[in-house]
Symmetry: D2
Subunit: 338 residues, 4 copies
């Protein structure tokens, strides 16, 4: 496969900090370099090593937090797990680790698109109390939405009216030295039928695993999700219908409550899922908590963090989806060929 | 560890079909037998083989469905994946496979309880439109709920008033030859802090993987879940407070929006999550679908299925939670000891 | 793939005890039954479960060994590892576990032969001091040796003269209440070029892993093996030559010191390796050893064991080779298809 | 654990090219840098990233080999596997990849020594036709051999007389533009009893896998190895004897034909194995081979290679042994603690 840095840089740019007034002022160029695995812009089949160097790093910002575990951060749990923790910036628990996911995901996406025409489009469907209206989102899921549509505003919400409300929601949190969460919807089109394993590694299980491994995530829904628990089977079932084209004899479904997966295996319809992100734990507001020794105290965090990570998490969700799909498709390819 | 069949049979009985008027009339004794791995009721450290024999099996029930893929079932996707499918009862995609999960989970649970005092209690918190009221459920999560409390009614909902409404909801579906979904909440108490891996195998990611591998599941939430996306960080953050006892110096949190996990690692608070189940796909009602060849047709399913699987899924959720916890605890033990 | 019990039983019969005067008198029918994964003699793509029931089992034979760890057996190490051990017959460390390997290997072999024409032929090349002469073995490796050739005598050595000497070697050990080891050579023909992974999972590494997991093995050689360390590079290098046929353009090598693998990857020449088996640890002769408590003692073992396991190990070596090859070929198939 | 670069550099220096007249003149400093996973020279429990930059690299040396697959190299098999290959220096198949193994192994070794006192000492026991005499090697295996003893001569053979003959053997090959192979013996002391898994992942199987993954290896023997096939069981069995010390009640064995492993599990005696290395494939001598197109041709290789890699492979064998041991010990720790 042809591959060079420019195939990867685009998604890193969508993830990087400092993109707008709504995100952390921390500055990073986040330039990727391919160290190995290609020659003359062609992949060699051997492992590909990608490197992104950190640049803007201010450990002093974290100095006053050495004795106080930050609420809803990983300071306390890392200390309990390892008996030690990195003194600055969260170390391994920093969401900065997601840069590797996005870089690898960009390689996976390129392959998925070239081989199968698979398109993975995520967008922000909720910020705090603001949600895309249900009927609008139903249309969005069926549309041929592109990333350029998603990127038309700072919050990556393809419904312009909702986007404006979301910007206000984030600005309000920012002004209040507070933070706000949100929801990302992801639509994966053109996945061939037959992907995913039947029991423990169902396609939705692998996606759920991948999404809940992203920092700050609290929930995952495939297809109808939690709302699907409230309707009767006769409404929820996706009736089959012929979708045979000249080149391919196949069935489709009239509705897609299944989210493109039945029995753990893709059915050829778009795979659609949603991911919940909590509000970032680091806020400017004073917090009443306690020290590692159990002494009550007030915490005033400095650091440079986002009032809302959801718009920047869009390429992370896309990357993790791509990595799951490429793994599952390779597994299925070993079978098809036999 | 001491182990015999009676340690396992209890959970199998909670899962087995034919328990009440609300479930499938299909009858199975589901008696488990330990084939290997123990001697004189003691585990030997080597693999434990458990067997449950099928008894009540009527392939003829499925005969008329050979040409029609059942809507929202796995017939079509198995055919696409493997180029062949089992002609009766769903084969590998039958939820009957969960019997192995429950049997293995019972062994895991016993070990978790004996070594760490870990208790895993799941219950039904929603059936169709009926939900346990929010305040009631908040109290339930903090209570010392037991399985005997959960089993006091047919739907395994520990709030008696809600349970009655749920029974009606299921009966209505049954009378209507339809089906209904629901939600299971699971509370895991006494998990030591430090369990779960920091990046890809976060504890919530492993739980999400396990839960979405259960047939008919559509969603997973840890702690505050999707609702947690709607509040500000200052409300969502779990402030630390000393919970030191005479035997153990440790911190706890005043609230538990994190669901007992921070940075992918348990913090010592109860691990709490919710799982969404869709309404069963097999219904008595006539369905307008098409054959494998794309011909429109009407499907009248016979078979013997549940109008609602959620009460029977309670021990399955508990089993999968136990299996995840035992894996993650063993991984952490290899580290602690070093 | 078509599959029924008769595809598997043949190799089990070659492994089973009681085949001749040279092996243990322990009697087992070792009849295999397919429990799941097929329908109407066709594999369904889902896991295949095979069962072989034990029949002839005399725990009393092992009673006097409860306090004495048998020399060069696993009694002591299991006790140290697990803090407990099975009281009879070795439990999990009994070579009886290899029946599962042979059964699974027979399924793998069938697939390898049908898809690629791969033939896996192992034979006994050494028993105790007796070895097939070097020049004879060089010819054997290049011949189109079949399993029927190998099975023409009790020791499974395709060189008749050597076989006679081997029979005497085993009989002498038997008469002496002693035991004897040996060497198995395995030739795998028609493996396509490109199988095996480049770094940690080189094809020879996977084969070595598999072979050294067989009970009683002490060594593994690929191609020239230890003798290859003694010659110069100019003699050892396998020069390329065109082996293009009408259907396939390819290179071969004039010699095969590489054993069909270069850089961890198959080159299309036969994959040839050798496996060393120690003399069985259970012997009738009195042994001066000590009890678990460190008290010196004499051990007179009863039980029913083989003076030489090597002829019966031939199908085990073939099975493990087949399992490695099928895994590696499936991995490569996922790549080729892409 | 305390860790800095100096803990790792020593083994890299033993592996690096250009150490003496007997090795490739290719020069590399091979300086290691710790990128992540430590702070203030303490490991954090999170992954450790080590980097060694390449410096002396002359792709032009390989230019004339583009059309000719080097005999007994991986050029042909990589082309067949991936449909493409790196144009210079072997790419992924270059033994330069072993630098990562040695660096990681040094970290593993430090932990093994600090926690268990485990010492891993490999040495060269054969070069071409020259072998350490049997009785001398028997004494060496029982001695408290140190790495400083091994490093007293250029060939890393702790028997001085044999070492001199080995130097001549290598010089003769060098003068002849040829190459020569050899054998490395590795002794691992103070491994606690109970390490290794009972069936597929026996300790010797994991070691065999690891050793055969090292470039240019052709064979592996544990304990008595291939010679063990030639003796009777009564001679081969390792009789138990009390080796209880004041601090630890345990058994040992009078002989060690088992190589420290019984039933796949360590017994507390030294784990001893041997690894065969073929003569390097790159030689100065003209070779009669053919091009990728099957045309007969003469190959005159340039490049800069070793006439014998065995002395430099000593730290590689040690590193791979350390990596296997640390994995298996962590697995056992998860069990012991439970």
């Amino acid at each position: 496969m042809k591959l060079n840095e420019s195939d990867i840089q685009g998604q890193l740019d969508r993830r990087k900090p400092g993109q707008s007034k709504l995100t952390t002022p921390r500055k990073e160029q986040d330039l990727v370099k391919i160290l190995s695995g290609t020659e003359a812009n062609l992949t060699l089949g051997t492992p590909i090593c990608l490197v992104v160097q950190n640049q803007d790093f201010k450990p002093a910002d974290y100095a006053n937090m050495l004795d106080i575990p930050r609420p809803s951060h990983a300071d306390y749990t890392y200390q309990k797990k390892y008996g030690i923790r990195s003194s600055s910036g969260g170390g391994r628990s920093s969401a900065r680790e997601t840069i590797g996911r996005v870089a690898a995901g960009a390689v996976a996406e390129k392959w998925l698109y070239e081989k199968y025409g698979i398109e993975i489009i995520a967008y922000v469907s909720g910020i705090g109390q603001i949600q895309i209206p249900t009927e609008t989102e139903a249309l969005l899921k069926q549309s041929m939405l592109k990333r350029s549509d998603v990127d038309q505003n700072l919050v990556r919400c393809p419904d312009e009216k909702t986007a404006e409300l979301m910007v206000h929601e984030i600005e309000a949190a920012l002004n209040d030295q507070d933070s706000v969460g949100g929801i990302i919807t992801c639509v994966c089109r053109n996945i061939p039928a037959g992907i995913g394993e039947p029991v423990f590694d169902k396609l939705e299980a692998m996606l759920a695993h991948a999404m809940l491994s992203i920092p700050a995530t609290k929930g995952f829904e495939i297809g109808s999700g939690f709302d699907g628990t409230k309707v009767k089977g006769s409404q929820h079932n996706d009736m089959f219908t012929s979708k045979t084209s000249s080149s391919d004899k196949k069935l489709g479904t009239k509705t897609n409550n299944s989210g493109g997966i039945q029995g753990g295996i893709s059915n050829g319809e778009p795979v659609i899922f949603r991911v919940a992100f909590k509000p970032p734990a680091t806020i400017g507001k004073t917090q009443e908590t306690c020290t590692f020794d159990g002494e009550e105290c007030l915490l005033n965090a400095k650091g440079r963090h986002d009032p809302c990570v959801v718009p920047r998490a869009v390429p992370i969700v896309e990357a993790m989806a791509a990595l799951v799909l490429v793994d599952q498709i390779l597994i299925q390819q070993s079978r098809v060929n036999s």
